[in-house]
Amino acid sequence: MRFIDEYRDAVTIKAISMQLKAVTKKPWVIMEICGGQTHTIIKYNIEEFLPPQITIVHGPGCPVCVTPLEMIDKAINIASRADVIFTSFGDMLRVPGSKDDLLTVKANGGDVRMVYSPLDSVNLAEKNPEKKIVFFGVGFETTAPANAMAIKEAARRGLKNFSILCSQVLVPPAIEALLSSENSRVQGFLAAGHVCTVMGFHEYIPLVEKFNVPIVVTGFEPADILQGILMTVSQLEQNKCEVENQYSRVVKKEGNAAAQNLLKDVFETIDRKWRGIGTIPKSGYRIREKYSLYDAEKVFDVGEISANESPLCIAGEILQGYKKPFECSAFGKECTPEHPVGAPMVSSEGACSAYYRFKKNELTV
């Protein structure tokens, strides 16, 4: 496929790898934020192309992984009602709540459906006026405008039976929280290219200035990631720290203005809890009061649900880059993709699941 295959080409990858080995002198710790990038790094064994001085740690950028347990329990509560069709992207269905997951609700007769786009849920609402259609609106800035658009479109069609259970999170406040922690060992970041496609990258400039770390907006293919690492290391070796853009074929500094305007209209920024990490100030969106008709938390009285994580799971340390999945005592034992204990084992973008799929053999020998 054009704009994908070229970035998986062995000659190109080797060329970047050579250059990276030439410029790297000192040891550096670099974090990729986005779960999509984690997946590429593990799947293509990117570490094999890095000089030994570079350590890659995996960040909290898998929305499936950081959606709090209470939110999953609220989803399960709503999905279990007889008058509801609950819709979601596929990877949320298997995330364990405190008792069940959404697939169990489906097995017990609940109407739970996987959709490709939130607009599919709006169409379902139009076709099923006697039912309440709820979409599980999880994701970062990449997905948020699609959810905002679904609300606008439902409003335009005059639908009163469509709502979103909103658990939207934002990347820059998470980077800020990571860097503010005393334990942080991250010296450079690869920022998530698709988040920046929407938001641009001006939000990272104050972070670079405050914390003295280079941030390089990076794409998702192996050559993109290696080039992003090369740009980060080149800055570090020269004692520079700037925001740079590796993914310039799609990311512009200002991002997509139309999508951003939509976000401002539909959402407001609030503090959000991240699974395994805790509450991060101003790190998420909620649906504005004027659209409360489309806010599932207001439509359905789910009240205050609170929940406790399994004591086995060290997802928080993994999502902040302090530990690798195989350092968890449950990894590959109590916790596998078939029976996940924690969220990073569920999504193919979660670090635990990526390690389990692609690295299990080398780790257990």
Binding site: R2, K14, D91, T143, N256
Partner: protein
């Protein structure tokens, strides 16, 4: 979750003025995609698509230049 894939705009449908749609070709697989956020996109252009929405255009010239630069790195003598 933030997966987005490149596709080529085949035709544009303006029938809903608040939800501009397009037929997009992903290496032979056709899908209807909302292009509301890219007001000046044309047929034949490449876009990056996420959950049924085009997030931005792909700058073909920029992509080709970056690739050429990357490949050229392989021609450099290895620095000690």
């Amino acid at each position: 979750m933030c997966l987005a894939i490149p596709g080529k705009i085949i035709s544009i449908d303006n029938s809903n003025p608040e939800l501009k749609m397009a037929k997009v070709d992903f290496a032979g697989v056709m899908k209807n995609v909302c292009i509301e956020w890219l007001p000046d996109v044309q047929t034949g252009e490449y876009v990056l698509v996420h959950v049924g929405f085009a997030l931005n255009k792909i700058d073909v010239e920029d992509a080709e230049k970056t690739l050429a630069d990357l490949r050229a790195m392989g021609d450099l003598p290895e620095v000690e």
